[in-house]
Symmetry: none
Subunit: 254 residues, 2 copies
DNA sequence: TCAGATATACTCAAAGTCAATCAATATCGG
DNA sequence: CCGATATTGATTGACTTTGAGTATATCTGA
């Protein structure tokens, strides 16, 4: 058992967010307490955990935060249903903007067989997904990479988007609220999404029912700025009626 | 038993994700510890495992990926060697342009631990590789996705590149020829690479020896436009002398 | 607040491991 | 055939890792 190996196992054990005790690790890994302490000190130095008396607590980054991959599998069936319905709006020959996000990635997958599409996106995954489709021309906006979402934001992205004219935008969001509008966690993302909205003729908002009522930090636009909302059937009927009354077309995936 | 064969067996043994001990490998493969250590050093350089005191651990993630087989080849080891040498030119705090390509991707990997870098690239893979590095700001050029290489080309890419000023460019190429210059298969890529050249203070051409004498369809620039060429030691000595005479600095990876 | 129980930092010596060098052998290209 | 290059294993001194021992620090419950 090597020191490095031991440290990996310690981290592995903390992945669930639980604290570890020196004595436990000691028996589990079959080394003296001195060695365990040395390991913990080292891992603390790397910023992976915080030591306490008798053991250690995992640090933010060490815990299993929902990665992109995990988010993508969470309620995957619903996302596919929403994506199918949304993709049905697209006619061959159109040009589309696809926002970054797991639902919009599903839309991209649904569009693979289509002919003569132009897709503009600020998401790696979407561009990669469509890059080998003969009937689809993919334009990436460029911009700075936003840490964990792999979305591109910033002036470069905005400028590219400002210079295009798309038939349709498929917009993702973290929060949809009747009063606070469509929201997202960062100003930078909000700015990009606003530019997308300006460059598209029709705005299709895609969001599952869990987004309703949530408010994230930065407002993108009022909900009425969207023309269509595609969501699932657990979407609150009251809110649905209210949105319809305000002129949105609602499409409910089954 | 050839060194290559031995290394393959070592990797074979680590496939399950288990650690290996120098002493064990030593008896199993019937060679001295010195040789085993040399093998492990080499494999570590290629990014296939992590050495520890007494043995080695499989590198997290890499072991079961499809890219694993490719990484185990000799040409990949050469690329890594070139990349290490090239990455050594970079000082913390600089801004770089990284062209799309397998060697430049390796350069990106070598830069992960650096601080305060700005990296501009037209390659997905490079952007993804560096996106989670706290010390590195990644700017993607944007542009159209070129089918199989996943490089971004076209007016959007060129405009983004034209608007930046980088300390260094690491440029890949399909062909390097004394008469025909630096070449690449398509006009679109050539145009992007030319823009990169214009936006950087120092041009570092990275190319293994197989590129010498090859001529691809589109010329990017004469070889003399580069300031430094990083290559491997199988690079033809005559050509090397000729290039040095023309003012290029040659760096030969061992 | 204090005493007793734990947990910790520190030093040290032993065991094991490593890098560097060198000479011997094997292989390659002409 | 010869010189150049690669590969190998032995040797040496230096480095890491380890657990025990000891003095200090921290926690807990009264």
């Amino acid at each position: 058992m090597f020191p490095e190996e031991r440290r990996r196992r310690i981290l592995e054990q903390m992945r669930s967010g639980e604290a570890v005790k020196v004595a436990d690790l000691c028996t589990q890994l079959g080394v003296s307490e001195a060695s365990i302490r040395r390991d913990l000190r080292e891992l603390e130095r790397s910023g992976l955990l915080a030591r306490t008396h008798g053991g250690a607590l995992p640090n933010e980054g060490t815990m299993n935060e929902p990665s992109f991959a995990e988010k993508a599998t969470r309620s995957h069936a619903e996302k596919v249903a929403i994506a199918r319905l949304a993709a049905g709006l697209v006619q061959d020959g159109e040009s589309l903007i696809l926002d970054a996000g797991t639902t919009t990635l599903e839309i991209a997958r649904q569009l693979r067989q289509r002919k003569d599409l132009t897709v503009i996106t600020n998401a790696f995954h979407i561009a990669a997904e469509l890059s080998d489709c003969p009937g689809i021309k993919v334009l990436v906006t460029g911009g700075e990479v936003r840490g964990n979402t792999l979305a591109l934001v910033g002036p470069v992205a905005e400028r590219t988007l400002a210079d295009v004219n798309a038939d349709r935008l498929f917009l993702g969001a973290n929060g949809i609220d009747l009063k606070r509008g469509i929201t997202t966690p960062t100003q930078a993302e909000a700015a990009v999404k606003r530019t997308m909205i300006e460059s598209a003729r029709q705005i299709v908002l895609v969001a599952d029912h869990t987004k309703l009522g949530k408010v994230a930090f930065a407002t993108i636009a009022p909900v009425t700025r969207a023309h269509v909302l595609v969501t699932d059937r657990q979407f609150d009927p009251h809110a649905a009626r209210e949105l319809t009354a305000r002129g949105l077309q609602l499409l409910i995936a089954q």
